[in-house]
Each structure stands twice: as structure tokens, then as C-alpha cells.
């Protein structure tokens, strides 16, 4: 009855929602082992050609001109870090919108929306499950890269890197909420998430230093959370700096995260209300 429904504390019941959403998504993902193998291994094949191309251009694993721009001549770890962090963009941006669309297609979205829990916690559970799978995939890609290209990784570096990855994920959650909101309204977000992914790819320093871009493109790139995450992580891993050297970028990343998260939650609630009025919320 109603009494038993509200027996536990708000915090515990909200955490229970987040946990079960996470478990549900991970179990659903594990039902498709081929997808796991694909995302854990195959993205490496997408950036290996760039490394081989670089080696052909400069005749070795280091470049003096590259060192002049970035402070480190080793372009291989530069590309690997770019590719691994960019894989978060692919999985998180695509994942959330697609997850909502799949729920609508299956018919489960109605049941989620008709339940008394706060839907923000369902979304957080979805975001966490996407983050967890993204991190497993990224870790796998990084491990294979270490074995293939002999990159040096120490725990002392990885802890602050992981902190920055969490900040990156927060910004991407905000963007994925915006995409999920579009998915509610327009019933697909794949094309939009692909386009945003490509915009990030061009304007954020995924493959090349931000200095390689024209000035106007560099300014645009400063609006993208991935730009700051890449600058900070490369600074930690390739230049051996600490937070004091990149505090401006960390603060900028935090501000962008807050703006995107607030906008994401607001837009999602607004679209939910709008589609409930128009009667299109269950459409797919």
C-alpha cells in the first residue's frame, strides 16, 4: 500500500533507484558480449593509422616541431590520450539519447514515467552505467595502447587523470541530457549526437594541438568540455605538471559542467512536460 511505498528514507530510496538503473543497464549490456569486445578493442584500429602516418611524416616516434607547440615531442601518447578521452564522447553522447529512445520503443518508458520516483535519479543511473561502460572501454583501449606503444602510466598520474575524466563526464552528462530531451521530442538523437561528436573531433584538440586551429576555431573550441579535459590530462601525463599549472582549465571545465547539467535537467523536464501534453511521449 501507499504506506510501505514511502517507508524508507528519501536518500536511500533515491540511491536504490540509481543502483537498480545501473544494474539494469549493465546486465542488458552484458547480454550482448560482441558489443563489449567491439568497444573495448576496435576503437584502437581507428587511431593506429594516424600514428603510422605521423611516423611516416617525421621518421620516428618524436617530432621537434611538435615539441615546440606542445612541450613534448612524443606525438604517439598525445594521439592515444586524445582517442581514449574522445571515446567517452562517443559512448556518453550516443548512449543516453539512444537509451531513452530504446525505452520508448520497448514500451518501458511509460512505466518509468508513471512511477513515483524522481526521474532525475533514473537519468543519473543511466549516466552512471554509460560512464562505467565507457571507463571500462577506455581502460581496455589504454592498456592495449600501453602494450603496443610502450606508454608509461603510474598510479600517481592516473588518480588526478581520473578526477578530470569525472569532470569531463559531468559535462557530457549535461549534453547527453540535452540529447535525451531531443530524443523525447523528436524520437531520435543519433544524427545530432554524431554531428556533435564530429564538431568535438574538429574543434577540440583530439588529434592535433589546439594551436593548430585558426584563432576563431580556438575560441569556439574553448566552449567544449573535451578541450579542457584534453589539455589538463596531457599536461599531467606528458608534461608531468600538477593542478597548479592547469587551475584555469579545471575551473573552466567545472563552470561548463554546471551550465550543461543545469541546462540538461531543465530541458529534459520541459520536453517531458511538453510531450505529455502533446501525447507524443510514448511514440518512438
Amino acid at each position: 500500500m501507499l504506506k510501505s511505498t514511502y517507508q524508507q528514507s528519501l536518500l536511500r530510496s533515491n540511491l536504490f533507484v540509481v543502483w537498480n538503473e545501473l544494474v539494469k543497464n549493465i546486465k542488458s549490456l552484458l547480454a550482448y558480449p560482441a558489443i563489449l569486445v567491439f568497444w573495448a578493442v576496435f576503437p584502437i584500429f581507428w587511431f593506429i593509422p594516424f600514428i603510422l602516418q605521423g611516423q611516416a611524416f617525421v621518421g620516428g616516434p618524436e617530432s621537434a616541431s611538435f615539441a615546440q607547440i606542445t612541450g613534448s615531442g612524443e606525438y604517439v601518447p598525445f594521439i592515444v590520450i586524445g582517442a581514449v578521452l574522445n571515446s567517452y564522447v562517443n559512448t556518453l553522447l550516443y548512449g543516453m539519447g539512444e537509451n531513452i529512445r530504446r525505452e520508448a520503443y520497448q514500451g518501458t518508458l511509460d512505466y518509468v514515467l508513471a512511477a513515483p520516483c524522481n526521474k532525475a535519479y533514473v537519468l543519473i543511473g543511466k549516466a552512471l552505467s554509460e560512464s562505467l561502460s565507457s571507463t571500462i572501454f577506455a581502460a581496455s583501449q589504454l592498456t592495449i595502447s600501453v602494450l603496443l606503444f610502450g606508454m608509461n602510466l603510474t598510479l600517481g598520474v592516473m588518480l588526478p587523470v581520473f578526477f578530470i575524466v569525472i569532470l569531463l563526464m559531468l559535462g557530457l552528462y549535461g549534453m547527453s541530457l540535452i540529447l535525451a530531451a531531443f530524443s523525447l521530442m523528436y524520437k531520435q538523437s543519433y544524427d545530432l549526437s554524431q554531428t556533435i561528436g564530429y564538431v568535438f573531433y574538429i574543434f577540440a584538440p583530439v588529434r592535433y594541438p589546439v594551436e593548430s586551429l585558426p584563432t576563431w576555431a580556438q575560441i569556439f573550441g574553448k566552449l567544449i568540455p573535451l578541450t579542457y579535459a584534453l589539455i589538463i590530462v596531457r599536461s599531467f601525463m606528458l608534461l608531468g605538471t600538477d593542478f597548479s599549472a592547469v587551475y584555469f582549465e579545471v575551473i573552466a571545465l567545472l563552470i561548463i559542467d554546471i551550465v550543461l547539467l543545469v541546462a540538461g535537467f531543465y530541458l529534459f523536464s520541459w520536453m517531458e512536460e511538453k510531450t505529455k501534453k502533446s501525447g507524443t511521449i510514448s511514440h518512438h
Binding site: 500500500m1 501507499l2 504506506k3 510501505s4 511505498t5 514511502y6 517507508q7 524508507q8 536511500r12 530510496s13 536504490f16 533507484v17 543502483w19 537498480n20 538503473e21 544494474v23 539494469k24 546486465k27 542488458s28 547480454a31 520497448q106 514500451g107 518501458t108 511509460d110 512505466y111 518509468v112 514515467l113 508513471a114 512511477a115 513515483p116 520516483c117 533514473v122 512536460e273 505529455k276 501534453k277 502533446s278 501525447g279 511521449i281 510514448s282
Partner: protein, 355 residues
């Protein structure tokens, strides 16, 4: 607020519930370049629910009957807060659906959309635990409740198998278990036996009856099966084109045509004007209705005649059909059903296949 029987609050009450949907117009690839020709905004709107008034009492098993597109599912979606009404007031368990949404949601369990609305890649137990969390249940309480429901619905043996390996009937049982998880006082059941074999249908019907009679739950049931509504429901409402056309007990509704005689003929490949033709031959019949069937599916068309003298009608009908070279499958003189009442009230057929 928890429902108190003494207070006399209706379990479900709708006052002038109205829901409109914008019509989607497909104007082709370059349609957006064309100007909207319509000057009348009302032409662009479908009225799905038109001032629907319902009062369902606690513990009542209430049937909502109507053809496809009549507004049954829209009513259930409004009650369950999935859709926001355009006009009217709706209370569920005494809570306003727009102002006390969480309490309304906690008061309801629903089975809408059938077996597809579960996670097929998860087990029955995982599905139920997930939905228990959405209903803010304590983990230990949820576990106990899930075991109880799996036992009651005879699913315990296969509770840890993925739903993709279940039959349709078993998945529907899991959907019912989900609706009962948080032990809600009100259940919304949208076509709960649709597509089930007779054995599972009987089990589900028994379960519904038990929930109403033994556990005192209020049940709003929509169904295509007239026998089901007749057997189960304390009262039924007919809905057609978004309007409630009648509300009463099945017996009282059938009494409206009880004194009338009914002739039903199954025919193969009837011409489109057959209804008009027979009506012209039977001026004293109150209703002459052709219910198209699907002969490929072994479901021939039916002609129903209500009113007048059946004995006289039979002769006239057989002569008329022979004259038109229409093959007759069967001919029955019988007692009117709820479907006949609906046909009499609206002139429309109640179900797609006429069953």
C-alpha cells in the same frame, strides 16, 4: 493522504476529462515550403476524450469498453499521469492527477501495452526488482514481495531466466506482478488477456477476480472480449469517439436489448451495400449491422439484426442472400450480448474482429 473508505472518496473520478491531439499531416519531402491551407484550427485537432465523466467506487471492478481508437488507452494514460489532460478534473484515490502526481502514481498499478513493456534481456526477478526501486520500496521488503508474487503467479521455477525465453502468457504474468509489486489500491488493466491462449486467459481472469473480491482492489479494465467484461465487471462504460455513451451493470445494459430478438448470420464476401439492402427488407428491425471479417484468417463477416420477429427475419434474410448469391456460413437466433448493446447505442461495432 491515504484512502479512507468512510470518507466516500471515489477511487477514480473524472469530471469533463478532455484530451485533444494535433493531427500529423504528411505533406511530402518539401511540405514545409507549402503554406498551411487550413483556416480552421479545429480541423487540425483530434478530440481523443470529450468531457469524459466516470465515477469508480473503491473495490469495484469496472470495465471500459470501446472499439480501437475510442479513447480507452488515452483514458488510462491520463489516469496514470503519462498524459496531461487539456481540460477537466481527475482524481485517483482522492489525489488530483496534476497537483499530487507522486501520490497518484503510488496509488496505481498498471498493465498497459502487454508483454513488450518489460526488459526481455533481464530475468523476471531482475525486472521486478528494478520496478520495485522505481516505486521506492525497501530492498528487503521488495525481495519478500517479489518472492510472494512469483509464487502466487506460479513463476518461481523460472524466475531467474531471461524473459526472452518466456511464453507470451508468462511475460503477461510478470507484467501483472509488476503492477502488484507495491500493493496499490487501484489497478489499471488495459487488455490484460489480449493474445493469450485460453488457459493463460483463464488464469489471468481468475487472478483479476481474486484481486477485486478477496483483496478489495479497485480495477479499471479495458477489454475487447465481451464475455470477459460480462463475467468479470461489476459495471461497464461504453466509450465511442472519446465520449462515454452508457454506464451501468452488464445485466442492466443487456436488458436494453433483452426483449429484442437477435439474428446473426455469417456470410462470405458480402457486397458493400448488403447492409442497406437487408435494412430495406426488414423495416421493423432496430439494428442491421454488417461486421466485416477477415476470411483469410478464417473469420467471415457477420450481419447482426436486432429487433422485430426473428422467425420472419430468418426467411427474408436467407432469400435475400440467395438472390445475391452470397454464401452463408451459419445462422443463429440468440440472446443479445454487450456487443449488441454497443451496436444499438452507437451504430458502431465494438471490436476489430467482431469477437
Amino acid at each position: 493522504m491515504v484512502y479512507d473508505k468512510e470518507s466516500g472518496v471515489f477511487s477514480i473520478q473524472t469530471i469533463d476529462l478532455t484530451k485533444r491531439f494535433a493531427k500529423k499531416k504528411h505533406r511530402g519531402v518539401f511540405g514545409f515550403l507549402r503554406r498551411n491551407q487550413s483556416n480552421n484550427k479545429h480541423n487540425d485537432v483530434t478530440v481523443a476524450l470529450d468531457k469524459v465523466n466516470l465515477e469508480i467506487r473503491p473495490g469495484e471492478l469496472f470495465g471500459l469498453l470501446g472499439p480501437n481508437g475510442s479513447g480507452k488507452t488515452t483514458t488510462i494514460k491520463c489516469l496514470s499521469t503519462i498524459l496531461i489532460p487539456d481540460e477537466g478534473t481527475v482524481t485517483v484515490n482522492g489525489f488530483d492527477i496534476q497537483k499530487e502526481t507522486s501520490m497518484v502514481r503510488a496509488s496505481l498499478g498498471m498493465v498497459v501495452g502487454g508483454e513488450r513493456t518489460l526488459y526481455w534481456k533481464l530475468t523476471a526477478r531482475d525486472n521486478l526488482m528494478y520496478f520495485a526501486s522505481l516505486y521506492k520500496m525497501q530492498r528487503t521488503h521488495a525481495k519478500k514481495r517479489i518472492e510472494e508474487l512469483l509464487e502466487t503467479l506460479q513463476l518461481s521455477d523460472r524466475a531467474d531466466e531471461r524473459l526472452e525465453d518466456y511464453s507470451t502468457g508468462m511475460r503477461q504474468k510478470v507484467a501483472i506482478a509488476r503492477a502488484l509489486l507495491h500493493d496499490p489500491p487501484i489497478l489499471l488493466l488495459d487488455e490484460p488477456t489480449l493474445g493469450l491462449d485460453p488457459n493463460f486467459s483463464r488464469q489471468i481472469r481468475n487472478q483479476i477476480r481474486e484481486l477485486s473480491e478477496k483483496q478489495g482492489k479497485t480495477v479499471l479494465l479495458t477489454t475487447h472480449y465481451m464475455d470477459e467484461a460480462d463475467q468479470l465487471c461489476d459495471r461497464v462504460a461504453f466509450i465511442n469517439n472519446g465520449k462515454i455513451v452508457a454506464v451501468d451493470t452488464p445485466n442492466r445494459l443487456k436488458a436494453m436489448v433483452k426483449e429484442k430478438e437477435l439474428v446473426e448470420v455469417t456470410v462470405y464476401r458480402p457486397p458493400a451495400d448488403i447492409e442497406k439492402y437487408i435494412r430495406s427488407l426488414l423495416p421493423d428491425a432496430e439494428v442491421v449491422k454488417l461486421i466485416p471479417g477477415d476470411e483469410d484468417e478464417g473469420n467471415p463477416s457477420r450481419i447482426k439484426i436486432i429487433g422485430g420477429t426473428a422467425e420472419e427475419h430468418v426467411e427474408t434474410i436467407i432469400d435475400a442472400l440467395r438472390q445475391k448469391n452470397i454464401r452463408i456460413g451459419s445462422l443463429n437466433v440468440g440472446v443479445p450480448t454487450l456487443e449488441d448493446v454497443f451496436i444499438k447505442l452507437t451504430g458502431a461495432k465494438l471490436t476489430e474482429d467482431g469477437t
